[in-house]
């Protein structure tokens, strides 16, 4: 199973431009229309579970608003040959 990712979006910076939403390869981001940022935009938010922590959203984000995390997969015991 692939590693799961997690993103945190700084709502003080996000301007709801939707570039992360458009470029996310697994479509797990969307604008949260129930929320407004201090600047008056609907912020992007993680809405699905399938995030892989691939970092594409942070690469396109013009506001550097996205922090990306990825699961650490515990290393399995080496198989003996």
């Amino acid at each position: 199973m692939p590693a799961k990712g997690w993103v945190e979006i700084d709502e003080a910076l996000c301007k709801g431009c939707e570039l992360c939403v458009a470029y996310c390869p697994v479509s797990v981001l969307a604008l949260d229309t129930n929320r407004l940022t201090p600047q008056g935009y609907h912020p992007a938010a993680l809405v699905e579970d399938a995030c892989t922590g691939c970092n594409v959203c942070a690469v396109v984000c013009p506001e550097a608003a996205i922090t990306v995390y990825r699961e650490v997969i515990p290393r399995r015991h080496a198989t003996t040959v």
């Binding site: 301007k15 935009y41 690469v59």
Partner: protein, 264 residues
């Protein structure tokens, strides 16, 4: 849409990406989706990775990026319109150990500042120039720039740029590559994640050129102006891909031999 919060992974998480230290916490004044923010972030990431923040001095232009010194967590000055290369020349000559970069738009660099950029390059000043080309004057309301494409509609070319009376776009990366003082002159684009990554490598090499004393270095970055192009941010990205990249071919126009060997 209704948003149901997904569950945070239970296993231990490692940090993959966070905002670079060379950017301040201040929210930018740029319009939503403007790639100025991407360019700022790439420059900041490169400065962090090279560990040159204490030596770096940024020079802001006149134009949308006039407040760039507020967003970089490093020393910065603001130059008169188009005169950033002249100011960079002075700073670099007085403080030769500093790492000096200018951040200029197309109105600033390719129009009023054409003389300064050409002569700074011809003198081979050891400075780094980040050139943001979005084919329009952003701050003043979307007028035609020297880089505006033929037939492109702007507020001062409402029937499209007519090349018979208004001339042709200027390709700065190619022009500067003809000068002997230039160590690095390339064009990159910021219209999708792959190209943004390539743009970052080019910015890194432009700073390496200065740190290694090779000469003048410039990276031209094709950028968007969603507001003045009257497009959504994603439509603007596609417009760069479909219209700007064919008119402004991406590529390396001059790369010093010492830089070609570098793996960044």
């Amino acid at each position: 849409m209704t948003v149901s919060a997904p569950s945070k992974p239970r296993r231990k998480l490692k940090l993959v990406y966070q905002k670079p230290e060379a950017l301040t916490d201040k929210a930018t004044h740029y319009c939503p989706g403007c790639t100025h923010g991407v360019a700022h972030r790439l420059v900041a990431e490169v400065i962090d990775e090279m560990g040159i923040r204490e030596r770096a001095i940024g020079i802001a232009p006149v134009g949308c990026a006039v407040l760039a010194y507020d967003y970089f967590e490093l020393d910065g000055v603001e130059a008169a319109h188009g005169r950033a290369p002249a100011m960079a020349t002075g700073i670099k000559r007085v403080l030769p150990d500093s790492v000096v970069f200018t951040y200029q738009g197309d109105g600033d660099l390719a129009s009023i500042g054409m003389a300064e950029i050409m002569h700074a390059a011809a003198r081979g000043e050891r400075i780094t120039v980040i050139f943001i080309n979005n084919a329009i004057y952003g701050m003043t309301g979307g007028q035609m720039a020297p880089t505006t494409l033929p037939q492109q509609v702007t507020t001062s070319s409402p029937r499209g740029r007519d090349v018979v009376t208004q001339g042709y776009p200027i390709r700065m990366a190619e022009i500067l590559a003809t000068l002997d003082g230039v160590a690095y002159s390339v064009r990159r684009s910021m219209h999708d994640p792959a190209n943004i990554r390539k743009a970052k490598k080019a910015i890194r090499l432009a700073f390496e050129a200065q740190v290694r004393g090779l000469g003048f270095a410039m990276v031209e970055l094709l950028s968007t102006c969603p507001t003045n192009w009257r497009m959504s941010p994603i439509e603007a990205m596609h417009w760069v891909r479909d219209h700007m990249v064919p008119a402004y071919p991406l590529g390396d126009y001059k790369v010093d031999a010492a830089l070609k060997k570098l793996r960044v």
